[in-house]
């Protein structure tokens, strides 16, 4: 019998909801990074695993701390802190002192995200912000290095970690390793730079799950390819080295810090591409992609406004006859 005492739920329409959540999407990005994590651990063994572990733990603790301080509920279940931690780790080289990565993670999660109002309100990509902060604040951290030096852990030797990064080799005009090897897996540089192939596999998963669209990566890659070609260099070397791949598919496509519309995304990607080439061809080679994305992050509100599409109800100048 239907009784009057049964409690019915009342709330506004719509009553149905797609199963996707912020947490499931962030988890998917985490999953998409696993191939490159695997390659990094293959090359750098325990160094990579340790660095990633430090960053994940720091990210979680930082979020808990800042949420506690601001009196908000912890949101670990949205995977955002863990993802930022993983991103930060992947932006460093394997032999980076662990406290540097920890401080970068603290800045990324604590300052670039939580202090900005939490996930959704951050204007800058938190992981890149944390990474770049460490570069800009390097002089300050020089003495921090001294404090922490006794805590350095020796985890066996890793020969590959000491060799020049492919991007540095490119800039120094050294003989480059074969492109195929560079594309598949080649150690040197940050953890995320070891294998464009692994990153592309992850990116394919993100496309499949519809978390990212082609607009930003395509605009970025095409712009870099065309401009480096004009500059007389082999575009493929530029695409397969440094932060280009993780930047194009994982960083610039960050939901929170990229424009709304397809047109906006194309413009955003193209501008990042132009900046990357300026940094790489004209200026110092390190972290050009990171700087480029962060600079364009600042322009996102402007792009969103400028690229606003007309409403369906906006009267058109010429009305079509059927």
């Amino acid at each position: 019998m239907v009784s009057d005492t049964q409690k019915l739920i009342i709330s506004p329409s719509p009553h149905l909801k797609a199963k996707d959540t912020v947490g499931s999407a962030m988890r998917d990005v985490f999953i998409a990074l696993l191939p490159v994590v695997a390659v990094a651990i293959y090359f750098y063994h325990v160094y990579a695993a340790f660095l990633i572990g430090v960053c994940l733990v720091t990210a979680v603790l930082t979020e808990l701390l800042f949420r506690k301080l601001s009196g908000k509920k912890p949101t670990l279940h949205d995977w955002s802190a863990l993802l930022t931690g993983l991103f930060v780790a992947l932006l460093f080289t394997a032999t980076t002192p662990w406290w540097k990565a920890a401080i970068a993670t603290f800045i990324a999660v604590g300052i670039a995200k939580e202090l900005m109002g939490g996930l959704g309100w951050n204007r800058f990509n938190p992981a890149l912000f944390g990474r770049v902060a460490m570069i800009l604040l390097a002089p300050i951290f020089a003495f921090v290095d001294d404090w922490f030096a006794p805590l350095a852990t020796y985890m066996g030797s890793v020969d590959v970690a000491t060799q020049a990064t492919p991007l540095a080799m490119l800039n120094a005009g050294m003989e480059m390793p074969p492109l195929g090897q560079l594309f598949a897996a080649f150690p040197g540089g940050a953890l995320s730079e070891v294998s464009p192939l692994a990153l592309l596999i992850g990116a394919a998963y993100l496309f499949y799950r519809k978390h990212i669209t082609w607009h930003i990566p395509a605009a970025m890659i095409v712009t870099v390819a065309v401009l480096t070609l004009i500059a007389g260099e082999n575009p493929l070397y530029h695409l397969f080295t440094g932060g280009m791949m993780i930047g194009a598919f994982f960083m610039a496509t960050d939901w929170v810090t990229s424009p709304f519309t397809d047109r906006g995304k194309l413009l955003f990607g193209a501008c990042i591409g132009i900046l990357v080439v300026i940094f790489r061809v004209g200026l110092s080679p390190t972290e050009g992609v990171a700087f480029s994305i962060l600079i364009m992050n600042a322009f996102v509100p402007l792009i969103d406004k400028a690229m606003k599409r007309p409403s369906f109800s906006e009267p058109r100048k010429q009305t079509q006859a059927s």
Partner: protein, 439 residues
């Protein structure tokens, strides 16, 4: 086959398999009906009966002198038990006439009183008004208001899209009552002076398309427009855009665009009102949901409390469920079961806790742009939701909040589960105030 559609929108699981093959059947009349005096857009009716009066099925029990109104009729024979406030499906309480059934016959006698070939415009308009016809697809506009000759109108567009999940009442009407539908369309087309009739039907109802096509294949003034299966295809603006290619600028009435849009159920009911003198006292309602034992498309008396309907359909466990009148995207969740179905109630949908959006709490917007991608109005629900939530109405207006048709796609796709439609509904009257103060 050419399939037409519009930009944006989303494919939402349609859950129609519960009832799409269930033939329309009659539900036994309830012991008591609650007939609201306002079931349409416009002025409410004044009661024509008082407590203790005997009423016959089909008798007019409420009417208004206003043009923008439609009378209401007794859907069962019996005694008026009360004229007073009851909960209505649009939310809150409103004046209703409560009728208790007596033992007499409870079926409306269908006998032909007019020859469909021979009805003039004036007579048609009168029948539609006196029959209390209103839009049965949701908007509930009094039908007679639109039934007038208008030189500009060249197209009668019949809405058989039925894009809301679960609902199949229009689908079954098109399949089972195709003949009345086509005849009703002809009456309406002639009465408004339109040159052609388009039947807009989503392609997930091939049997409906076939049934209508079979009847109109020799006519060159009627045509089926196959529509892509996409929500919200059945919204008037998007139906016009898809079927005729015409833009629908804000503020424009569809007559100015040369189209009159009609729901297929309304078309059949207006035919019956003309030919049989049958007022709008019952309608086809889809009763559905994963846990409804006997889901189906039922002819239900206007004013039947949903408790009666759910009991007949074998629904027992309702703790923490949602009972929605209308479709699950735009319908209203009801606070209790003594709420009546009215002329515009397309469905009674019972949603178990794991299907409703309450399974997660909403969070801040993460700018994923899924709402922007799917918004059929080409708006920015993400921006709108942030401004409307914060009460920044001027900013929300800048981002075209007033153009929102409240279809609910944004909230449906939102990974942060933001109740965008709720905030939009809250902000609209505030923005209207702002707009008036500027004049």
């Amino acid at each position: 086959m050419e399939v037409k559609t519009f930009q944006g929108g989303a494919h939402i699981p349609h859950f129609k398999s519960y009832t799409e093959d269930k033939p329309i059947t009659r539900l036994s009349p309830p012991k008591e009906v609650i007939v609201p005096l306002l079931q349409h857009m416009g002025a409410p009716c004044e009661p024509l009966v008082k407590e203790g009066d005997k009423v016959e099925i089909g008798q007019k029990i409420g009417d208004s002198e206003e043009t923008f109104s439609a009378p209401v009729h007794a859907s069962i024979s019996g005694t008026v038990k009360e004229v007073g406030k009851r909960t209505v499906p649009t939310g809150g309480e409103d004046d209703c006439i409560v009728i208790e059934a007596d033992d007499g016959p409870q079926e409306f006698e269908m006998k032909q009183i007019r020859d469909p070939q021979n009805i003039d415009l004036e007579e048609y308009r009168k029948c539609v008004r006196e029959g209390g016809l209103t839009g049965m697809g949701g908007a509930a506009l009094p039908t007679h208001v639109q039934v007038k000759y208008n030189e500009q109108v060249d197209t009668l567009l019949l809405n058989g899209a039925e894009c809301e999940p679960f609902l199949t009442c229009d689908h079954r009407i098109m399949v089972e009552k195709a003949e009345e539908l086509v005849r009703g369309a002809e009456l309406m087309m002639n009465s408004i002076g339109a040159k052609r009739t388009l039947f807009g039907i989503e392609v997930n109802k091939p049997d409906a398309i076939e049934a209508v096509n079979e009847l109109i294949k020799d006519r060159d003034d009627m045509e089926v427009v196959s529509l892509a299966v996409k929500y919200p295809q059945g919204f008037k603006s998007h139906l016009i855009k898809a079927a005729t290619g015409r833009d629908v600028p804000r503020g424009a009435r569809s007559a100015e665009l040369g189209c009159i849009v009609r729901n297929v159920g309304t078309t059949v009911a207006s035919y019956e009102a003309c030919v049989y003198g049958k007022p709008l006292i019952e309608r086809v309602v889809t009763v559905s949901g994963p846990k409804v034992t006997k889901p189906g498309n039922y002819i239900v008396r206007i004013g039947s409390p949903i408790s009666h309907i759910l009991k007949e359909c074998g629904v027992e466990e309702l703790e923490n469920h949602k009972v929605v009148i209308g479709g699950p995207m735009t319908g209203l969740a009801q606070p209790h079961l003594e709420v009546p179905v009215v002329k515009s109630s397309t469905g009674v949908i019972v949603l178990p806790p794991d299907m409703t959006r309450e399974w997660m709490e909403y969070t801040d917007c993460v700018r994923c742009d899924k709402c922007v991608e799917h918004c059929p109005m080409m708006l920015y629900p993400n921006q709108i939701s942030i401004y409307a939530e914060a009460g920044l109405h001027e900013k929300a207006e800048e981002w075209d909040l007033m153009d929102c048709i409240e279809c609910g796609i944004c909230s449906y796709v939102c990974p942060a589960a933001r109740p965008v439609v709720h905030w939009v509904q809250r902000a609209k009257p505030e923005i209207q105030k702002l707009q008036r103060s500027r004049k």
